[in-house]
Each structure stands twice: as structure tokens, then as C-alpha cells.
Symmetry: D4
Subunit: 154 residues, 8 copies
Amino acid sequence: MTWTVHLSGEIHTDWRQRIEDGARAAGLDVAFTAPVTDHSASDDCGAAILGEPGDQFFRDQLGAGVNAVRTRTQMDRADIVVVRFGEQYKQWNAAFDAGAASARGKPLITLHPAEHDHALKEVDRAALAVCREPEQVVAVLRYAVAGQLDRAGV
Amino acid sequence: MTWTVHLSGEIHTDWRQRIEDGARAAGLDVAFTAPVTDHSASDDCGAAILGEPGDQFFRDQLGAGVNAVRTRTQMDRADIVVVRFGEQYKQWNAAFDAGAASARGKPLITLHPAEHDHALKEVDRAALAVCREPEQVVAVLRYAVAGQLDRAGV
Amino acid sequence: MTWTVHLSGEIHTDWRQRIEDGARAAGLDVAFTAPVTDHSASDDCGAAILGEPGDQFFRDQLGAGVNAVRTRTQMDRADIVVVRFGEQYKQWNAAFDAGAASARGKPLITLHPAEHDHALKEVDRAALAVCREPEQVVAVLRYAVAGQLDRAGV
Amino acid sequence: MTWTVHLSGEIHTDWRQRIEDGARAAGLDVAFTAPVTDHSASDDCGAAILGEPGDQFFRDQLGAGVNAVRTRTQMDRADIVVVRFGEQYKQWNAAFDAGAASARGKPLITLHPAEHDHALKEVDRAALAVCREPEQVVAVLRYAVAGQLDRAGV
Amino acid sequence: MTWTVHLSGEIHTDWRQRIEDGARAAGLDVAFTAPVTDHSASDDCGAAILGEPGDQFFRDQLGAGVNAVRTRTQMDRADIVVVRFGEQYKQWNAAFDAGAASARGKPLITLHPAEHDHALKEVDRAALAVCREPEQVVAVLRYAVAGQLDRAGV
Amino acid sequence: MTWTVHLSGEIHTDWRQRIEDGARAAGLDVAFTAPVTDHSASDDCGAAILGEPGDQFFRDQLGAGVNAVRTRTQMDRADIVVVRFGEQYKQWNAAFDAGAASARGKPLITLHPAEHDHALKEVDRAALAVCREPEQVVAVLRYAVAGQLDRAGV
Amino acid sequence: MTWTVHLSGEIHTDWRQRIEDGARAAGLDVAFTAPVTDHSASDDCGAAILGEPGDQFFRDQLGAGVNAVRTRTQMDRADIVVVRFGEQYKQWNAAFDAGAASARGKPLITLHPAEHDHALKEVDRAALAVCREPEQVVAVLRYAVAGQLDRAGV
Amino acid sequence: MTWTVHLSGEIHTDWRQRIEDGARAAGLDVAFTAPVTDHSASDDCGAAILGEPGDQFFRDQLGAGVNAVRTRTQMDRADIVVVRFGEQYKQWNAAFDAGAASARGKPLITLHPAEHDHALKEVDRAALAVCREPEQVVAVLRYAVAGQLDRAGV
């Protein structure tokens, strides 16, 4: 049984890579999905494919639509959704994804530094685990997928 | 037919009052719901009712749970969900509510200044209307509820 | 028990009025809902409330969003959905509403002249009754709501 | 992960072939489904299998039922639904499919010439991307499935 | 809190009347719904309203559609569904309703003589109570609605 | 893409075999499921596994439960549900399955002789095709699965 | 807006009365529902209404079915579900109700002494608030329903 | 077709092994899932991965969350859910899982000694089979999956 895990949220650090590396090292049968993490591609995809609308608001709307073709399908197929909030930016799309995952009954894991705890309290309340480091996410996945707990390993 | 409209998000300005006043002035058959907008009550409700946990993270989690008893029920009953993003703060709970509303098929209206357009592009893409001012929300409600369009009135 | 019936589709003839008059004459406990049937209001509502976008495509999209705030809520609440296809125009929104109603398990009644039978065969297949005249819709509602069949009356 | 994409709508031009060719050329892991595109088979299938009913309305209804056995199952399994509106015909079944896809939360892409923009505004409002050419659909799929954006390629 | 109870199935005996009388005598806050129980009206309603199709199969299909406008709405609104199987006839529509009620999670009560136990074993397995007499249905409703158990009363 | 087709209903004739043979001959990618068709096993399975309850009503209930473990799972997985009504017996479980399939939005095909048309009118109204012979079911499946219509073949 | 709150679980102490009294004293617009709390009526209802089956296992099953007619409907209608675990007994039906409420997305509040914390950890994890005393439940309801927090009052 | 069967509940005896051995011996195409059955790992997983919270209640909550990442996904994917209640402990999580499985329409099998019949009557009422021994569960699975009934074998 392959587990599908969607990695949503912040796109400026290597947290996805660290989770994927950790899962591979642990030999977990997990398939990861993610939004397009090339920031400019993510911003430009709508206008590049559908044409420049000549207005920034609608340019963003075109792009958000094209990105959603990818991410909604990924979310639909995910067994587990991990949402990462980084140190910077508003990251409202991350919180939006967390809300959507929660409303659809998907097991949710959040990943963020403690400084965001208060601002994220509603999001964390809907999560089954609140992690600080990608390696903790790997440990949760290892426990969930393979039933293994490494007490010294995190 | 009474329409139930949930007003989620920012709690530091008078936008809810302006929408409610506008709806009343227009004679709309609308019942509004909202989270508790007293910031300290919203932060303290969990610990005050269930006991101080002696840890800030869990204190926030207790509070978020008690607030969710209110807001989840309100969201369930809402015909329309309006989510406001103000100039300050992270407001991740607002984006979380927007994601939940969208996933449950609730008609969504967002309300925020243009400076947030880029950061909110995914949230706005899921909305049926993106407003700048509370009076525009009133106009959308007036059109939706009463079928009236005041071309000069906004 | 009040029955809520949504009257979707063509907005250029008096079919809604005839159904509402017939239901009233029959003393049926029915509440009717409908989109805004003022064609220019329906076209302009987005731009009038949210601002002129300076582009026809996006102007239409703004308007369609604002109209959907009304019609999606009405559809959600409807016990029965009636969709009318008139002699003219593409009326794709009518077929779209029929598809949405069908997918959501709402009892569907179509109303259109026989000349559209072939083009509407998929839509009619999803309907529980295919009517030619508004008075037939009234007769179906009378039977459904009040349990009365006037054999000579249609 | 194979993505399943249902291609609904117009059956008189080669748009499906162009999308399938483009997806193959791009090496995308996509399985396409479609209604039976042989117009006369689609019209006759009910009567040919179940018997001639001796009435055109019921002949159409028999055929629409048999076609629906195919298309409803395809729609159920689709990750993404593409709906094409051509230059001619009423194409109400296309709009019906778009409505059903939207009500079931399937990511929707429309494909049609600009001349239909106004008539399709409600349908387009429910779509995540509005394309003019099949190659744009391929580009959206390439971005969604493979995460690749060819800025010069469309 | 009014409870809505749909009384489906056999239409040739007075079982509905006995249940309604019993509920009234017990002062229960229950609203009952039922299909049209005039057998010939139920058979003729399609053809009478929509026109004679000149074929018995399609005549039955027209009638079944019109009846379903009534019964599907009633079923949607029902808190509890009671299905009665009498001594005669196939009564497949009763079993069909029981299957639909069960699939939608509606509490189901069956009412039939013991001679049908073996043939109805799958239907009864999906029911929460299997009654022999209408007065037992009243007693179940009295217990469910009012919390009253008359140990000697049945 | 393998299509899963559940064959529910009558267990005394060879209709399942004829459909499976026909599908194999046509080279269709279909997996068929069915209830246990050994009548005495179907009657006895509950008591044989769980113990004799010493009462016929409860004996039937035990058996119906064990059978439902099989058939509910099969129904859940089915893309298409075929329900056969034979010449004899009450066959209420067949109609129950048809109701459940319909309520869950599964494409439904019925198979029965014309003599049952009137008694099955509500069930047939919920079906997408009403067949008289197993070979017609094969033809519908061939059209649905493979897109092939043999005009002379049925 | 009346809030409907279902009070499930332990039936041997006055916790329901204390919650109802507290809600009334606070002037909350709440309608409470509950299972039949007369233990012997709850045990006997099936046999008393449907007949003695002459076997304790089936006697319990008859009773559980009749009780479920009441409680499933109450649960369906509840905005909020409160589940109480007392000091004694297995109370598996309470945990069963909590699981059902959680799976259906109902806001859940648990009420139990701290000694049960470890055994109830999975149930509590699905709850939005874990209370020790009925007065805390009242305080949560007061906050949820009326938006009032009495910091000294609990 | 592989059947997925989730084995929930008691973790102190070898019942899972006996079911898995029996299914293998019978050659059934079944994949079994289960919670982590190492009691101390199950208790400690939250604190070990996410950090010691310094409070037993929250320690349990952390652990319950991490366990739920595993079990909710397993439950989502299960075709059939088996819940075992042993002789000891409260086992509220077992009843919670049974409630969740039932609310989601999963075929449910319970496994427990007769001494628990009365306390489990509501849970058993929601089950399709109540077994005393793991070998009976194997026999039910064999019947369901392979259609084989060994009348002498249990």
C-alpha cells in the first residue's frame, strides 16, 4: 500500500527535499506530491499559457486557476496533507489548503517554527500533529506508514 | 427566506458593523454570524473555562477548540461566507476559514485591500466576488438576496 | 411543509409568471426562487459593484460571480429545480444549472418546445418530467405538492 | 501517478486528437476518456440495442441513457474534466457536463472561441482555465501533471 | 421539534391512517408524508399531464417520473422512513425506496406480515425495527419522538 | 481502465454466465462481481458461521448480515450495477439493491421480461437502460466500455 | 437561531439536568436532545414493542434498534454533540456515538473525570473541548451560542 | 480484486494473527491493516516525536494525534472494518472506531465474548456480523471475498 502525501505551503527552503530524503532513507512506501515550487513559474503560468490579460489582478487570477488544476487534483488524491509555514510572507494559500484539507477530512500535519504558534492556533487545532522540523514529519510518517517508532531518532 | 451570512476574519476594524448597518438600511432579510470579536476573550476562552494548562502552546490549543465550537457551527449553517483580510497580522485563521468554506461548496466573498491581491490570489480564485469595501459586500448581498442592483449606489 | 422550487433558465418570456400564477391559483404551498431576470442588471452587476475591469471577458466573469452568489444559494435550498430552454440563444447557463442540479440529486423538470428535443436529449434524460408549457409544470407541482391530479385540467 | 482526463463536448473537429497528440509528445502520464464521438452511433445506440420505440422523443431518451452509462462512469473517474464548445450547434450536453463536473468538485477546463465568451460566462466562471486552442489545454495539463511551464511553447 | 416521517409502500389498506391516528392520539409532534395513494392517479399522472405516449412502457415511465418528483422530495426531507409490504403484489417500488433510504442513512422501519420474513430478509436487515402492525410503528415513533414506552399498550 | 460491474438479483437462471461470456467474447475489460448464487449457502451462511439462533427470523437476519458484508463492498466498488428480475419470486432484495445503487449515483441497468414493466416502473425510471435479454446488457457494456456499437449484433 | 445540542452517554447522574439548568439560567437559545434515560425502558423497548424474542442477545438487538430510531435522528439534527463518560460501566455506546459524531463532522465536547483521560485519549483528541464538570459545558455553550465569556464564573 | 480489512481494537491477544493466518490458509486476497499494537510505542509516539509536553493529558493528546494519522488513513481505505473488544480495559477507542466506521457506511464486524453482549448492544446493532472467535471472522471474510461457505469448518 503506497501512501500519498501532499506537501503544501512554503516554497523557499528545502523542507520538501528533507522530508523526501528522510522517507527514502527510512524505506517508506510514500509518494509525495507538491505544487510547482518555481516561484516565477507559479506566478506566470496563467499568463504564459492563456495570454497576458494586461491587469495584475486578473493576471494573478489566471495563474491561481492553472495552479489549482494541479493542486486540487493532488489534494483529492492525498492520504495525508502536510502544510508548512515558513518565517516569511503571508502564506495565505498554505492556510487555505489546510482549511480545505480539514474540511474534507484529510489527516493534516503542520510544520512551522514556534514563533507562529499563536497566529496558527486555529490551523494547528485542526491538525493531528504540529511539527517544528521536517525530520519530525518523517518520523510521523514512518510511524503512520511503517508502524516504527525510533525513540532516539528524532 | 432568511439568508445566513457568516462574517469571518479580521476583528480590529468596524467592517462587520458597516455590513450589518448597510444590510439593515437596505432592508435585507439576512442573519449575520461572526466569531467572538473580543480579542482577549477569544484568546482566553479555553483556559478560562477548561483551566490554565501552564503552557502557551496548549493554552492556544484549548482556546482554538472552544472558538471552533462556535465558528464551525456557524459555518455549517451559513448560506454565504464573507472573509475579511485586514492590513495587519497574519490572519491565517481567515484563510483557513476560506479554504474550509470553499471545500464545502459555500459561496465565498473576500474583502481586502488591493495590496494583498498577490498574496491572496489562491483565496480570491476560490471566491465568487472580491471586494475592497464593506459597502461592496452589502451591494453583492443586496443583489443576491433582493435581486436589486443600484448602479450608482456603491 | 413549504416546497422551494427554483426556476432557472430563459429570462425573456413570462413563463415564470405563468407558473407562479398557476401555483397561486391552485393554492400550492410553494416558494419560488429565480435568478435576476433583468438582463442588463445580470450583465452589469459585477462591474457595477466591483468596478469596471476594462476588458469584456473579465467583465463577464465578474458578473457571473456575483450572479452565482445568488443562484448557488437558491439552488442549494431548492427542493425541485425547473429549467426552461426558450426558442433563442445558446442558454448554456440553463444546461449548466441542469447538470449541477442533477449531480446534486435534485429532482429536475425541464420546460422547452419539441424542436429542442434532440439537442436536449441528455438533459431531458436526467429530468423527471419534460414539459412543453408552464401549465404542465404547474400540474406536476400540484401533483407533487398537493397530491392532486386534474385529468382534464392541463 | 496517472492522471485521468475526460474530454467532453463537441465531436465534429479534431480537438481531442490534438490534445492527445500533444500530451503524448510531452510525455505526460495521462489517460484520456471521451464519449462515443461517432455521431450516428451516439444517436442510434439506444434504439439499436434496446429496440426501436417508434417515437423520436423516446428514441432520443433511449440513446441518451445508453450514452450516459459510458459518460457518467468516465466522469466519476476523471481527475480533470475538459469541456469543448465548438462554433456550431446548441451543445447543451457539453454545458450539462460542465455543470455536473462543477457540482462534483472536479477541476474544470473549458475550450472555446472568444465569440462564445458572453454566452458561456457562467460556465467559464466555474472553470479553472478558459482555453482557446487545444494546445493551451495541453500546456495546462503539462503544468498540472509534470510541473513544466514552456513560456515560449504555446 | 417536529419529526418528519415518510410512509412508503403498499397503498391498498388503511395502514397509513392507523399510524396517523395513533400518532395523533399519542400527541406526537410528527408530520407524515406519503406518495399519492390513489392507484389510478398514480398510474395516469404522467400521461394525463405530459400527454399520452401511445406505448404502455413509456406511459409507465412518464408516470414514474412525475411520482418521483413528489416522493424523492419527501424522502429527502424525512427523518424516518417507514416501508410497508402488504400481502399482495410485487411492491418493488417499496423495496426500492427502502434501499434508497438505507443508502442515504435514513432510519428505516419495515412493516409486513411474518410470511414475508424470508423474502424480505435483506430489507429487514437494513431496518432498525421490523413491525407486524401499524400500532407497533406508532409505539416505535412514540418512543423515538416522545421518549415514552407503554409496556402494556401494544 | 478496468470497469467493475456488479450483477445483482435473480440467482436461478444463467443470465450472469451469458453476460460474462458475451463480455469475454467481445474482449471487454470488465471485472464482474456478484452475490453468492448458491441459494442454500446464501440462506445458511449466517447460522453456519455464527451459530444457529433457534428462530427463523433471526436465522434470516444473521444470513442477510453475512451476505451484506460481501454485497455492500461489491456495490461500493462497482462502476455499474445491473439488476435482474426473473419470472418468479418476490426478489425484493434486487429492488432494494437497485434503490441503493440509485441513491448512490451508480449507473443502473435493469434486466427483466416485459411482463414486469408495470410493477417495475419506478425501478426502471431510475435506470439508464432497461434490457430484456442478457445479450442486450452485453451490448450496452460493449458500447460503454469499448465505444463499439454493433447495429446488427443484438 | 436556536442551537440543537445532543447530550449522549451516561444516564445515571444528573449531568443533563445541570447542563439544561445552566443553559436556561444563562438565557441561551438551545434545544437539548437526549436518548431515553430510563434504563429499563431503554433495555426493554424492543421486546416490549416488537415482541419477546426468547433470547437475550436478540432481545438486546431489538432494543438497540428501537433506541437508534431516536438517537440517530437526534444526532442528525444536532449542531453540537456532548458525550459524557461516568465513573462506572463500559459505556461503549457513548464512545460509539462520539465516533459517529466525529466522522460526520459534528463539533464534539466530551465530559468525564480526569481518571479516564488515558483511556479516552483517542476520543478526546477528536473533541473540541474536554470538560470535567457540566458547568464547563454550559460555559462552552454560552461562549459558542451567545459569545459571552465569564472569566470568574466557572 | 484485493479486499482491504482494517483490524481495530484490543491489542493484547493474538486475534489479529489468527485472522491473518486463517485468511492466508484460505488463500484469500485480503490486505490487513492495523494500528500500532506495541502498547508503549502507541502511548509514547507523540512525546517521542514531537517532544515531551510535561503534562500527562497533553502527552496523551499528542500520542493520540500521531496514532490517528495512521488509523484514519487505514480506515479511509478499508473495505471492511473488524473491531475487537477483549475481556479487559475500557477499550473506548475500539467503540469510537466502530462508530466512525458505521457513520461512514463501512461494513462492520465485531468480535467479542458473549459477556459483553449487553454493554455492546448498540455497537453490535450497527455491525453486519457479531463474532466470538477470530476463526468466525475468517469464515465471514472467506464467504465475502471468495464466496465459499465451509459448513463444517467453523
